[in-house]
């Protein structure tokens, strides 16, 4: 019997930070949007916002343009700080394609 042993070529991954904890409820929570303004985000994100507002009347949905928009800006540290400073409980990010 021939045995051939060889390296896995994929390289190791390093998980350095956990995902944000999930919310226990949406009631009374403040939710923001970060938009790249691409892929019909001008239609899809307002629809999602309206669905939340309809189904959870006491949720506070921030305006779609509350934070800088566009691919060039949404990944910046400054934008992340603005989101943090706004005191949101959760953020919805869109759209990727």
């Amino acid at each position: 019997m021939i045995e051939l042993e060889f390296h896995d070529p994929a390289g190791a991954l390093e998980v350095t930070q956990p995902h944000a904890p999930r919310l226990t409820t949406l009631a009374g929570k403040k939710i923001g949007f970060v938009s790249n303004e691409q892929w019909q985000a001008f239609r899809t994100l307002p629809l999602i916002k309206s669905l939340f507002e309809k189904d959870f009347p006491d949720v506070q949905m921030l305006p779609i343009d509350a934070f800088p928009q566009g691919n060039a800006l949404i990944g910046e540290e400054k934008t992340a700080m603005m989101v943090k400073d706004a005191g949101v409980d959760a953020v919805i990010i869109g759209n990727a394609a």
Partner: protein, 445 residues
């Protein structure tokens, strides 16, 4: 998306709600979103990562068979089922083969070069040696591959976007210095493609592609949305033809990156197209007419709305024009230099604003992150790059004057890196002569 998330150090999954591409197109029906609204609510309330805290270290795999041939087949089958293959036969990266590759570098095997985007796989010297072993490479190629990976992972290449985006970027690695000839890297006839006389380029380029895919997660349609993915089997790895660069014309590594002549170096940029351009005249042109008409033909070949490359408008490159040595020397006799050629290309590849407006380019330029790029809308005709220096002019290709080649840029930066070889490099070259026959031109058929 999961690649991008793991590249940030998060577990490689996320609370995502995905829809078919049709929903994201102009005029689409977006009613399907409401039907799946519960998924949005669950994403904020109940989603949990299914991955453990760490994905673990690199491991050894084993196949068993009744014969070596069958074992080789099983190893290749395993590579395909694990999504590590490219459709061509692979050498299994055995310990012996990888250790042999590692003789090509003075660096320790555990030396970390960086995290390969977007997946974020930790890329070490050993990772490079594994890929080179799989690609059929040789130890003396490893210094070039490591330098190319260092350049690829430079923070300014924007590689995390190029690896994942739909624009089909592929890396181009240009080598300067004596190492090119030493390792049998092509700079002449057929320098962009595989060549059994000078096999280094195909192996190094294939190894780089395997790293992009296996470590960086650039899997077609999953981690990399490149619609067409051109040049992927071997990327482009070739040398400048320094023997035939006209006197007074600096080699690319010296001119663009400031390396001293004779320095072994790589220059890495990204392209999304590679095409032939007819340069020579067809009738009774004088040398001056042949040169000038050829320059106009090349400049007008470049004059296309390549908005994919707007991220490279300010500090990257609109592309590289490849000029054969025989043409470069004739043009040098007529007073042409690389800077003069770049200025010519800059001036004569401009596009009228009426055409930019007509094809919707105005909107793409307006939304660009760079103020310099946005300001360029005021220029009519519109230059395809912010300054002449961004054009790359390379002397390479066979000794034939008819055709040039245009590598169309998709490259936010052009990164140069010095190539480091081990003290025992000469031994590797001697071994290559024993294994492959004499590598000098005088030994060829």
């Amino acid at each position: 998306m999961t690649n991008a998330i793991s590249g940030l150090g998060l577990a490689p999954d996320a609370a995502m709600i995905t829809f078919p591409i049709g929903l994201f197109l102009p005029g689409s029906d977006i009613a399907g979103i409401e039907a799946r609204k519960q998924e949005f609510y669950d994403g904020l309330l109940h989603w949990q990562s299914s991955h453990a805290k760490s994905a673990g270290a690199s491991r050894m795999l084993k196949v068993e068979a009744n014969s070596y041939e069958e074992a080789l087949q099983r190893a290749n089958d395993l590579a395909i089922t694990n999504l590590w293959g490219d459709g061509l036969p692979l050498w299994p990266a055995t310990r012996e083969r990888v250790n042999r590759m590692l003789r090509g570098t003075p660096l320790p095997r555990t030396h970390v070069i960086g995290k390969f985007p977007p997946r974020g796989g930790i890329t070490t010297v050993e990772t490079c040696a594994i890929a080179l072993a799989m690609a059929g490479g040789r130890a003396e190629y490893l210094p070039v591959l490591i330098a190319a990976v260092e350049a690829f992972l430079h923070p300014e290449t924007n590689a995390e976007q190029l690896q994942a985006a739909s624009g089909s970027a592929f890396p181009v690695v240009v080598v300067n210095g004596p190492i090119a000839k030493q390792i049998r890297l092509n700079s002449g006839f057929g320098c962009l493609g595989p060549d059994p006389q000078r096999p280094a380029g195909a192996s190094i380029g294939r190894a780089l592609r395997l790293i992009q895919q296996n470590v960086g997660g650039a899997l077609p349609g999953i981690g990399a949305m490149a619609n067409y993915g051109g040049m992927r089997n071997v990327n482009l790895v070739f040398a400048e033809d320094e023997d035939n660069i006209p006197e007074g014309w600096p080699p690319h590594g010296t001119e663009h990156h400031g390396f001293a002549r004779e320095t072994n170096s790589v220059s890495v940029f990204f392209c999304n197209g590679a095409t032939n351009a007819r340069r020579r005249g067809a009738k009774k042109e004088t040398p001056e007419e042949d040169a000038t008409q050829g320059m106009y033909r090349l400049a007008e070949f470049m004059r296309v709305p390549n908005y994919t490359n707007l991220s490279g408008y300010e500090q990257g490159t609109p592309g590289a024009i490849l000029i054969p040595g025989v043409v470069a020397n004739n043009m040098a006799k007529l007073g042409w230099t690389k800077p003069k050629m770049r200025e010519f290309f800059y001036q004569h590849s401009r596009i009228p604003q009426s055409e930019i407006k007509r094809n919707g380019g105005t909107a793409w330029i307006e939304i660009d992150a760079s103020p310099i790029t946005r300001e360029s809308l005021k220029l009519d005709p519109w230059p395809i790059t912010s300054k002449p220096e961004n054009f790359i002019v390379l002397v390479c290709g066979g000794g034939h004057p008819t055709n040039s080649f245009w590598l169309q840029g998709y490259s936010p930066r052009v990164i140069g890196k010095e190539i480091r070889v081990p003290e025992t490099f000469e031994q590797l070259l001697t071994q290559a002569d024993r294994d492959l026959g004499c590598g000098d031109d005088v030994c060829r058929i």
